[in-house]
Symmetry: C2
Subunit: 123 residues, 2 copies
DNA sequence: TTATAGATTTAGAACTATTATAAATTTAGA
DNA sequence: TCTAAATTTATAATAGTTCTAAATCTATAA
């Protein structure tokens, strides 16, 4: 684990949000101003592969990164693009049993309008 | 409905697959060689807006387009990227009731290895 | 301690999917 | 037939990410 990768991991672990590569870059440059975007991506790929973090692939959105490795799904606000965790029934298991196949990965994203954005929209 | 849009719609309706913009372009140029990619995208946006077709947003994949408007989900092969339809329990409703929110859209993609690719891999 | 091989970082180019822009063309209606 | 609006074309621009190659760091063995 290099310093760069450790700082990227710390950044994700310290955050209560689901950060994008760009948000992570902005945060990490505070501690390490010379770091480049390619290193952020390299680190994120490494950390995902080694199962330190989870990549949240969202259709039509940049990837977000999650310190929470437990299986759970995500709710994305249509306006502010904020991501929150939700628990739903086990679709993966349901599909595996129903279609008798092995699911290798599962990207589920539900969109909504978060409370704050709903308020803003009504103003 | 312009000729271009009609040809794009026909292409999607004639196909048993879930085509990408590029696949549609390749097919449409057979009938209309001068058409440009921007028109394909413009047509697809129009056809989606007017509910002639459904856009399948897949994380980390180009969008695919589906003539089937009924609510259903998709299974994507990790290797050939082929997309097939599946029916799963109504996650949207489940989440709306559990979290008392209104879901605006729902992107669910499950990945697997299709039979053909599984065979190929074993060779 | 030093040499060296391998891994990682940096810097920047390249790539993919898609949207944006502006001029040219088509279409529909008065 | 004329005109305004919509659409297409051609091309540039954009966003997110990966790739490449040189430079640098790291770990290990002589």
């Amino acid at each position: 684990m290099t310093i760069q990768r450790q700082i990227v991991l710390d950044c994700i672990r310290m955050s209560s949000e689901h950060l994008t590569a760009e948000q992570i870059y902005n945060d990490v440059t505070k501690k390490m101003p010379q770091i480049v975007m390619a290193t952020i991506y390299n680190s994120l790929n490494y950390l995902e592969k080694e199962k330190y973090i989870r990549r949240i692939k969202l259709a039509g959105e940049p990837d977000h990164f999650d310190k929470n490795l437990h299986p759970h799904e995500h709710l994305i606000c249509d306006l502010c693009k904020g991501v929150i965790d939700i628990d739903v029934s086990d679709i993966q298991k349901e599909v595996e049993e129903k279609y008798n196949i092995k699911i290798t990965s599962c990207d589920i994203s539900l969109h909504y309008l978060c409370e704050e954005c709903q308020k803003k929209k009504c103003v």
